[in-house]
Amino acid sequence: MAEPRLIEISPVTRVEGHGKVTIHLDKDGMVDEARLHIVEFRGFERFIHGRLLWEVPVIVQRLCGICPVSHHLAAAKAMDVICGVDQLPHTAEKMRRLMHYGQVMQSHVLHFFHLAAPDLLFGFDAPADRRNIFEVLREKPELGRRAIMMRKFGQDIIEATAGKKIHGTAAIPGGINRNLPIETRDGFLKTVAEMQDWALDALALARDYTLDHAEMVGGFAAFPSKYMSLVREGDGALDLYHGNLRMIDAEGGTIFDQLPYDRYHEVLVEDVRSWSYMKFPFIKEIGPDTGWYRVGPLARMNTVSLIDTPLANAAREELMAAHGTVKVHAVLANHWARMIEVLHCVEKITELLHDPDLQGTDLKATGDRREEGIGVIEAPRGNLIHHYKVDENDQVTYCNLIVSTTHNNEGMNRAVKDVAVKHISGQPEITEGMLNHVEVAIRAYDPCLSCATHALGQMPLEVELLDAAGQTLDKRARAT
């Protein structure tokens, strides 16, 4: 009889940050447990303490090099509240929105083409040395070129609005520190139409893949869940920059709707587990076992009532109709949803470039100081919450970050187990391709692992002292 075995996938590749997967097989080779572990630690929630409030949007964005704009803007929104500013000048809000659309576009393009496309184009079982962007460039040079140029367009928008392509400084408490010069705007107007054409082609690619592989997609880590995102006040439209919280169940029933996001802590709480630096949020009223939910592009497609740009709205309706269920639960449909959002971003960028408010000079508002501020945004990977308290000396005393990857923690772990059970359980030989299936499931969530690990002082730590034979001599545990 075989011994129980542990399979470790480490590191998980083509995701942002460092993580590993452990799969425990019993003596019959059946999957007993499978987990996604986040093995790095960042701790921003703690070491931001004592820093001055206007530094926060610049410091916390250093969490990530792929979507720093999301953290920059979420923190800036929280600091707007702390500085007593409830309404930004039009120029400031539109510059921030333009920055955010550029960010979502470039991040989604990076994810779809650079990280996920090798799996989709060459197959999950393709040799590992083929599953990379360089092979995409070699075999499909035009597609690869477009991927690079679309990402560049998004990055150029970020540079024009934030000052730098990565880690800019433009969003300041109460506003923005620059507007968009006419000559810069005109440069973007020359290429934005081509970007829209390419976004439509990319959308068709993602849609066709999903439809052509409908059976596989429908059975690959596809399970119902609750979904949450911001939606626009009033009509419930997709709004990546601002809105209220909406949570729905797997059938589309309302759990809460149009909830002002500064009340997030009334409905959500976070659990910690000993084997991960990443917390597990859940709906307070329902509890950790069934109160988990998912966020991200597919979650947004499920939660919103409509999209306020015509091409993306039509694409969303096609996505929803194609699945024949009230809501779409197939994790791989995230790629289709992601490309709908790229199209939406290009449409919004086009709209904004024609708006003269971007050349305005009223950049900053002021108000009466408050002690606490919450900023929420829809980051590329999903809902992002920044919550701060600041003392009378302008120094941060409290910080809580719930990032998209954290919201999706339970969902990703379930996806890992689902795929492991289907593709690894009972197999006489475990191949690299089988293990890549597990990574494909994680990758579909586009996790940003480094963004998500801040649970300093809250993990239930356990230390074991073992002798040379592996026998436990002593054990110490700290409960939460």
């Binding site: 004592g50 820093r51 001055l52 206007w54 530094e55 949007p57 610049v58 410091i59 250093r62 000052g163 730098k164 880690h167 800019g168 400084t169 433009a170 300041i172 408490p173 520190n177 620059r178 900053k364 000396n393 302008d394 120094q395």
Partner: protein, 237 residues
């Protein structure tokens, strides 16, 4: 005694009696790097970044008087290496996190590192001190993690503002600048003081609250020019 001439890097320079090497160099558009020296403040000769070789001796150009027929070496590989090491030690002695510092782009220490070609971490160990931020004043904050003990604020406050808000405390490696009171709130510091102005603190230690990142990237002091550009451009005029 009338004016006299001496040489800096082979260039004939005319000086007036009593002028330091740096003062004479500035007038003719020769930049000698400096951090603790600042126009309008008495010379200190503390940071030694302005070290030059004069008559074969290493001296601080900000305090050493010029002399007839003196031969001064300024821009040599050896001297710039010495300066780069000095600047490197300043970086390693404090916590200079340029990517998140609101002074980035306006910071003379950072600009000096660029000018001297400091493109990578130095060989010196990081001391990583843990210094509290004094944000008690309603309009001013002091982040001593970024202080390089240049003393410009001490001289500005004493000599220009006539207040003596800042002073040195401690000895040796523990010597640092502190507010003359239990904290900044309990001094008579005002944001309009010369000592608090943007031009006095060369780094991001003295902070005028709420300015932060209001000045965008691309419009900061050293975004387009090396430090010393304002002096060197005189040679082209």
């Amino acid at each position: 005694m009338s004016g006299f001439s001496f040489q800096i890097d082979g260039v004939e320079v005319t000086a007036k009696p009593g002028q330091t090497i740096m003062e004479a160099a500035d007038e003719v558009g020769i930049y000698i790097p400096r951090l603790c020296d600042h126009e309008g403040l008495r010379h200190q000769g503390g940071c030694r970044v302005c070290t030059v070789k004069a008559g074969g001796r290493s001296v601080a150009a900000c305090t050493q008087p010029a002399a007839p027929d003196l031969v001064v070496e300024n821009e040599t590989p050896h001297i710039n290496k010495l300066r780069r090491d000095l600047v490197g030690m300043l970086f390693n002695e404090g916590n200079h996190l340029c990517p998140i510092c609101e002074a980035s782009g306006n910071c003379e220490l950072q600009a000096m590192a660029y000018r001297l070609g400091m493109t990578e971490p130095t060989k010196f160990p990081y001391l990583e001190p843990c210094r509290p931020v004094d944000a008690s004043h309603p309009d001013i904050a002091l982040d001593n993690n970024r202080c390089i003990s240049c003393g410009r604020c001490v001289r500005a406050s004493q000599d220009v503002d006539g207040k003596g808000i800042f002073g040195y405390v401690g000895r040796g490696i523990h010597r640092h600048i502190a507010a003359n009171g239990p904290d900044l709130r309990h001094t008579d510091a005002e944001v309009t003081d010369f000592a608090i102005s943007a031009e006095v603190c060369p780094v991001g230690c003295i902070i005028r609250k709420r300015e932060g990142f209001a000045r965008p990237i691309g419009e900061r002091d050293y975004d387009d020019h090396l430090i010393g550009y304002d002096i060197e451009k005189k040679r082209d005029e």
